[in-house]
Subunit: 347 residues, 2 copies
C-alpha cells in the first residue's frame, strides 16, 4: 500500500463541513486502488487570524512543504478583509510553491438545472502566480482630493510560456482546441505580449487549433454557446472570471473544483473547491460538498491515480443524474452527509 | 426647430450599414418633437489607416470638438491590430472629451430568445477614462528568456468618485439599487481603494441600497439571477466585461447600445453600438441595427429629448415583440433595412 501524506487546511465556515466529506471520499476511492492517506490538519484560518494576528504561523510554508499535497476547504470570514485572509494564506501558498497552473474543469451534469442547453465539458487553465494579482503598487495622497492608487500587472515570458504550454498539452490530450482569453485591444502593454506568446506556442503545437477572444466577447460566447469550448487559457484575473462564469453557466458554482498545480512537482500542489466559506449557511450541515469532493478527485489524479479520480467524478455524476439527493443550493433538501453517503455508495 | 450638429464616424465594416439606419430613425424621432439634425461625416477608420497611416487626422479631436455630439458606427478591420485602431480613434475620443461615464443599458425584450428566464432591465455604468486601460507600462528584454511586460492600472479619487456619483444618482432615479463590481481580494492596491470610495459615496446617498460583489461572483450571478440587478458600476475593464456579458444574458450583443458621456457637457459625448465591425457579414445588408438605433436613442436623451428616446426604444420593443422581422443574428431572415423600416413605421 502506497501512502500519501496530505496537509489539510479546513479554513473557515463551510470549509469545516465539505473538507471531511471530501477526505472520506478520497480515502474510499484510494483504498480500492491500494493507496492510503495520512492527514495532518492545520487550523489556519480567519479564526486563527482574529485570535493570533496571522492566518498561519511564520513557518507555515515550511511545514506545508514537507507534504505530498495540500487540501484546502475555504477561507474568509466576516470582519476579516478578504485581502488580509487571502494574501495571508491562499495566495502565498500558490506563489511559494510555484503552483502556476490553476486548473478548473467545468461540466454540465445531467440532473443539474442549467441556464443553457447543450453539452458543456471544458477546462479553464488559469495562470496562477503573476499577472494582475501583483504586490507591486500602492497609494499616495491618502485622504486628499488628489489621492490615487496604482497597481502593476506583470507578465513574464517564462511565466506565460509555462502555463500556455500546459494548456496546449492539455488541449492536445482532450479535444485539440484551445481558446486564449485576451484584451489586447484595451490593455495595450501586457496583453499584446500575451497574444504574441500564444502565437509562438501555437507554432510549436500544430496539432492544437488555437484561437483568441477578447475577454468581453469570450464571456458573452460562454453564455450564448458554451459547447464550442474545450480548453480555455487565461491570465490570473481572466481565468478567475472565466472559471466562475463557466461554472455558473453549467448551473452552479457550488460544484466547481480547482487544482493549484506545480507541474514539475518541486513543491506540493493544492486542491480546493472554488466556492467560498459561505458564513450564511455554516453550521447548517447543508453545504454542497461536490466542489470539495471533485477537488479531491483532482488530487488523486495528480498523485498518479487517474482511475480513482474518474470513479469519483462518475459517482458524482451518477448521484446527480438519479436526482433524489441534492443539497439546497441545487434545489433539494439533502444534507452534506446525505450527498457524501450517496457518493460513497456509488463507489 | 432646434438643430443639433452631429459628427458621424461610420468607421469600418457594418458600421457603414448600421449608421445610416440609426440616423434615419434619429431624424424621424427628433422631427416629431421639433428637433432637426445636421450630420458631418468623417471617414476615419482602419481603411483610412491603411491608406494614410493614421486613423484620424492630426486635428481630428479639434474638429470633433465643435459638434454637439458624436455618433460612431464600429471600428476594426482585419490586418489592423486592434490596439492600433482603437487607440488611434475610440480611446483618444473617450479620454480627450472626458467621457468618463460609459453607459450601457441592457434589457430582455419580448421576442428575444434568451438563455435565462425572467425580467432583465439593468444599466452598466462603466468608468471610461482610467483604470486598467492605461498608457503606462511597457516591455523589456525583448526576445530574451527574461522578457517581461508591465502595465499600470491607475485609479484616482477624482476619477472614481465622479463615476460613482453618476451611478448613485442613476440608481436613485431607477430602482434604488446599486451593485459595485470589485476584486479587492485579488487586486490588492487599486480595488480596496475603489471599495473605500464606494463606501464613502454610499454614505452620501442613503436612499440607494448599495452592495459590492467580486467580479468573478458577479459574473456568475448575472447568469444565474440577472433579475436582481438594477445599476451596476465597474471599472473600465470590469464594466467592459459586465456589459457584454449582460447583453449576452439578455440574448444578443447585437442589440447593445452605449453612450460615452461627459456629464458636465464641457465636451461632446459619443454614442456607439457595443458590437464590432463584423467584417464577416459586411456588405450583406443583414447587420442588426438595434445597437446603433438604441445608441441614437441614448443620444436623443442626452440632447434633452428623453420622450423621443423612449419612443425609439418602445418601437424597437414593439417590432421585436411582433417577431416577424428579425435579422439573422436573432434567428430571422430580415435585412437591416427591413428592421429599420419597421421601426420607422412604429414611430
Ligand atoms: C474595442 C475595445 C477597446 C472596447 C473597449 O474595451 O473599451 C470595446 O470592447 C468596447 O466595449 O467599447
Ligand atoms: C479569493 C480570491 C483571491 C480567489 C482568487 O481570485 O484567486 C478566488 O476567487 C479563487 O478563484 O480562488
Amino acid at each position: 500500500m502506497t501512502t500519501h501524506d496530505i496537509a489539510v487546511i479546513p479554513g473557515d465556515g463551510i470549509g469545516h463541513e465539505v473538507t471531511p466529506a471530501a477526505l472520506e471520499v478520497l480515502q474510499a476511492a484510494g483504498r480500492r486502488h491500494g493507496h492510503g492517506f495520512t492527514f495532518t490538519e492545520y487550523d489556519w484560518s480567519c479564526e486563527r487570524y482574529l485570535r493570533e494576528g496571522a492566518m498561519m504561523p511564520d513557518d507555515g510554508l515550511e511545514r506545508l512543504r514537507r507534504h505530498d499535497a495540500i487540501f484546502l476547504g475555504a477561507v474568509g470570514a466576516p470582519g476579516v478583509p478578504d485581502h488580509v485572509s487571502l494574501w495571508g494564506l491562499l495566495i502565498p501558498i500558490r506563489r511559494a510553491f510555484r503552483q502556476y497552473v490553476n486548473l478548473r474543469p467545468v461540466r454540465l451534469f445531467e440532473g443539474i438545472d442549467s441556464p443553457v442547453r447543450g453539452h458543456i465539458d471544458l477546462v479553464v487553465v488559469r495562470e496562477n502566480t503573476e499577472g494582475e494579482y501583483s504586490e507591486i503598487g500602492g497609494r499616495m495622497n491618502r485622504g486628499f482630493p488628489d489621492e490615487m492608487a496604482v497597481q502593476q500587472s506583470v507578465f513574464t515570458r517564462a511565466g506565460v510560456t509555462r502555463v500556455l504550454d500546459y494548456a496546449f498539452d492539455l488541449a492536445a490530450r482532450r479535444g485539440g482546441h484551445l481558446t486564449s482569453a485576451t484584451k489586447s485591444n484595451g490593455i495595450i502593454h501586457t496583453l499584446p505580449f500575451w497574444d504574441e506568446l500564444v502565437r509562438e506556442r501555437a507554432a510549436e503545437h500544430p496539432g492544437v487549433r488555437c484561437d483568441s477572444e477578447h475577454i468581453d466577447a469570450l464571456c458573452a460566447k460562454l453564455v450564448l454557446d458554451p459547447g464550442r469550448f474545450d480548453v480555455i487559457v487565461g491570465s490570473n484575473l481572466f481565468g478567475d472570471i472565466l472559471s466562475d462564469l463557466a461554472a455558473a453557466v453549467a448551473g452552479s458554482i457550488g460544484i466547481a473544483p480547482s487544482a493549484n498545480l506545480n507541474p514539475e512537482r518541486d513543491f506540493p500542489s493544492m486542491f480546493e473547491p472554488v466556492h467560498g466559506s459561505a458564513p450564511d449557511i455554516h453550521g447548517l450541515g447543508v453545504a454542497n460538498p461536490i466542489g470539495a469532493i471533485w477537488s479531491a478527485a483532482l488530487m488523486l489524479d495528480h498523485l498518479g491515480l487517474p482511475a480513482a479520480a474518474d470513479e469519483i467524478v462518475a459517482a458524482i455524476a451518477a448521484v446527480l443524474a438519479k436526482g433524489d439527493i441534492r443539497t439546497p443550493d441545487l434545489g433539494g433538501t439533502s444534507t452534506t452527509t446525505d450527498f457524501t453517503e450517496a457518493v460513497l455508495t456509488h463507489l
